[in-house]
Symmetry: C2
Subunit: 495 residues, 2 copies
């Protein structure tokens, strides 16, 4: 959930100053178009960590747009009068009418999340409240409300640095309370609860936008631009009365060139000698782990995704070399067959789920929905937007049934890919591996990169996180895959 938001995005003064005037003008335009049209209301939810710039950003939005048509609500503890009514009462009363923008700070998410962190309430209680929120928001969306949800995030070191800095300066020291440090100490728990809550409520119709809150200029531009983009798309839809009332799913927008894949050091060091040693070691460990008695009550589902020629096949062979041939199956995933196209898109993966004690390795997977199908337009935007939550549900069920789910993205750069394509073409026995399609996919490199970042942000979960593998050095990549598998299995088997 927070992968991209922990990269430390920054915007310098000059870029910021250059960008703001046009953004303000465009936001104002959109705001007045909304007001003229009176066709839908906009509800902006502002949530997230303390110190990640929630208040500042809201002030800025009010400054940038016409504050007469923005209603900002900051909810504190309920008043006596509010406490005597249903929990949602005060939020209902704060909904903006059609044509207006309502900014709701500390809204219906605050209490369930804080409760779960501080009072360590039962998980079932949190689940129930999140399910209620999903239904409530689905109703709002169907009633035509455009729901824009921002979560302001700070990494743990970022949070610590912020508190230390405030304490250092006598003028700001008072702002740091004991409660702040207590929250910092609970950071990991808070992050887990938040990540879970966001995942459960990030639907196709109302997905969360995660804001990297560390740099004031970056977060201001990010929120302003995201809001503008989402608002503009909906305004365009509203001009076409024949369009179904499906809300245009907002997108996490790449605001600068810093992204998850770009920030990886793709070429890592590993010499042949070290590789051979470690290969033997990890294959041995994996062989033992999958033959453990405890594994007979579990199963292993491994997903391999990556650019063309990133080395998925080679990595898979190094894994299977450690396994008993009766124990594993490789499922190569290509375009769906006619039989498969007559079913929901997840159906063709359900049929290959392993029994206990077994391993299934997917060479490409259900993530095709949010990668190739998204980029090539094989399904509608609404379809792939809802797929993130559906895939999370699917993996939830797998894990609930005892499967260990390990997901790898093998990453290489565009130049390295070109080198590998040419090598393959030069070698007769590898030439079959390169097709016209591979060359065509290369042309959409940026689109794929963007789709991969969204995928990791939206489907890397506590129970089935993504593992990004720097794969320009094949030795390094294969060892990282094997080591990750061993570590995940050891954790799962209680080693």
């Amino acid at each position: 959930m927070f992968e991209s938001a922990e990269l430390g995005h920054k915007t310098d003064k000059e870029s910021y100053a250059a960008a703001v005037p046009a953004l303000r003008a465009a936001l104002l335009d959109a705001q007045f178009e909304l007001l003229d049209l009176k066709n839908f209301a906009v509800v902006v939810l502002i949530n997230g960590m303390d110190g990640a710039g929630k208040g500042e950003t809201v002030n800025l939005l009010n400054e940038w747009m016409d504050p007469r048509h923005i209603q900002t609500w900051a909810f504190d503890s309920p008043t006596e009068e509010e406490a005597e009514r249903p929990f949602m009462y005060r939020f209902w009363r704060a909904l903006p009418p059609k044509g207006r923008i309502g900014v709701l700070f500390n809204n219906w998410y605050t209490d369930p999340i804080t409760d779960a962190v501080l009072h360590k309430r039962k998980k079932a209680r949190l689940e129930q409240r999140l399910a209620e929120i999903r239904r409530f928001e689905a109703m709002l969306v169907r009633e035509g409300v455009l729901l824009v949800k921002f979560w302001f995030h700070l990494s743990k070191p970022g949070q610590k640095a912020r508190l230390k800095e405030l304490e250092k300066d006598p003028r700001t020291r008072w702002r740091v309370t004991e409660r702040d440090w207590r929250f910092y100490e609970d950071y990991d728990r808070y992050r887990d609860v938040a990540s879970h809550a966001l995942r459960q409520t990030s639907t196709g119709d109302a997905p969360w936008q995660i804001v990297d809150g560390s740099d004031p200029r970056f977060r201001a531009l990010f929120v302003g631009r995201s809001l503008l983009q989402i608002l503009r798309r909906r305004l365009e839809l509203a001009h076409h009365p024949w369009t179904p009332r499906q809300v245009a799913p907002p997108l996490a927008t790449a605001m600068d060139t810093l992204d998850l894949l770009g920030s990886l050091k793709l070429r890592q060091e590993m010499k042949r000698k070290q590789y051979e040693d470690e290969l033997e070691r990890y294959q041995g460990r994996l062989a033992l782990l999958t033959r453990e008695a405890a594994f007979r009550k579990r199963s292993l589902v491994v997903v391999f995704e990556g650019s063309d020629a990133a080395g998925k096949g080679g990595a898979i062979r190094r894994v299977t070399a450690a396994l008993d041939a009766r124990q594993y199956r490789i499922v190569p995933v290509a375009a769906p067959s006619e039989e498969e196209r007559a079913q929901p898109y997840l159906w063709r993966f359900w049929r290959h789920l392993p029994r206990q004690g077994k391993v299934v390795l997917f060479d490409r997977s259900w993530y095709g929905r949010v990668l190739v199908e998204r980029v090539e337009g094989y399904c509608s935007e609404a379809d792939w937007m809802r797929a993130y939550a559906e895939i999370n549900d699917f993996e939830d069920q797998l894990v609930g049934a005892g499967a260990v789910v390990v997901k790898f993205w093998l990453a290489i750069g565009k130049d390295e890919q070109l080198v590998r394509f040419k090598e393959r073409e030069a070698e007769p026995h590898k030439r079959f591996k390169i097709t016209e399609e591979d060359w065509r996919n290369r042309e959409k490199w940026e689109d794929y990169a963007h789709a991969v970042c969204d995928m990791v942000d939206r489907t890397s979960t506590e129970i089935a996180p993504w593992n990004l593998v720097e794969a320009e050095n094949k030795y390094y990549a294969r060892i990282k895959v094997l080591r990750t598998l061993c570590e995940r299995l050891e954790a799962a088997l209680g080693k």
Copy 2:
């Protein structure tokens, strides 16, 4: 949920024999059109009580349609192989491809409901499984599956009669096991759990159809006709590629002239003297109850709905006469104002929710969405179909916050209404009460009656049941309203 299904519908031999040939032909036609089109799959869920005719009806469907294109699955306990995979594994594998009909018996509802009844598992566990089912079904619907859900119901006396009859005959005695009687003893619990589960999963896109299972001919025709109607509507949509992929919400169809309102004895006896005695008595009781210390931690929300001239106003005045004027408010509900139209339809009711210790009486209510707005076409079918679940959620929140929710439908016949209209027109001080609109509404009497029955079936819940009030004798109606209020309050305050 089960109100209409407990009326004891019956179809005689002749009507049945006359109806079947055309129904079979139409079902076959629809089936082959579906097969040609290959545009969507049909999943029919068969659930409900033992002995309510599930098996017989499925056999009949197979007989009536071409069984080569129907796949029937009866799930028993999972096999060893299935048990090692996620709970949904075997159901996923049973999904029919596009163009086909799959009939799934004992499906993903069976285990959660049975578990909750027999093992008295924690409520939170049931809630969680129902939430998962909702999400799973939402995904199927968005993937284009037409989901038709039948619940076969038997009333408690019906269930008992059936068991007794089987036991009487030596040839069928073996069919009654101890488990059957144990289930019968748990009938009330089973009914509650089922009602709750159906309510939680009856969505606008995939609502439940409740089948009165007591008469074999009636239930066969009911299921056949419902399936035909739902299938036909979806087939029509499928021919219009520009239509949004919203599934046409199926309707509970009135199959005969026996309905909830029609089965009431509208004119009940009550003489003036008795009325005056009981009025005094119940007003006194109500006055005391609302002045109890315990009531200061609760609130009372009363909904009055009914035909025009059914006597809502008169009944409300008899209630308020017992209350402290500072304690209650009457909210008359007419067409929404401009301010209200700029908000989700429930918004205008949220603002009137009572504090603790207070009473709000709604003279017409949020049920307008599924009554006048449905009948007059002020909102789309998809909108009012989803409203049932949204209203249930809303009332859940009210009750969760301590409100006692009491809902009345005041019922009079069409002839009685005419008499009252004419009386009102004749009396100068009452003439303002009759408008053109009232006369227009009369013309849609049948549509309104149908909408009322659907409303009661879909929103009469364990926590906020509907009370049907026979209102042709005003004395009787007012006393029944007062008595019901007293009883509900006494139960809520633990008297």
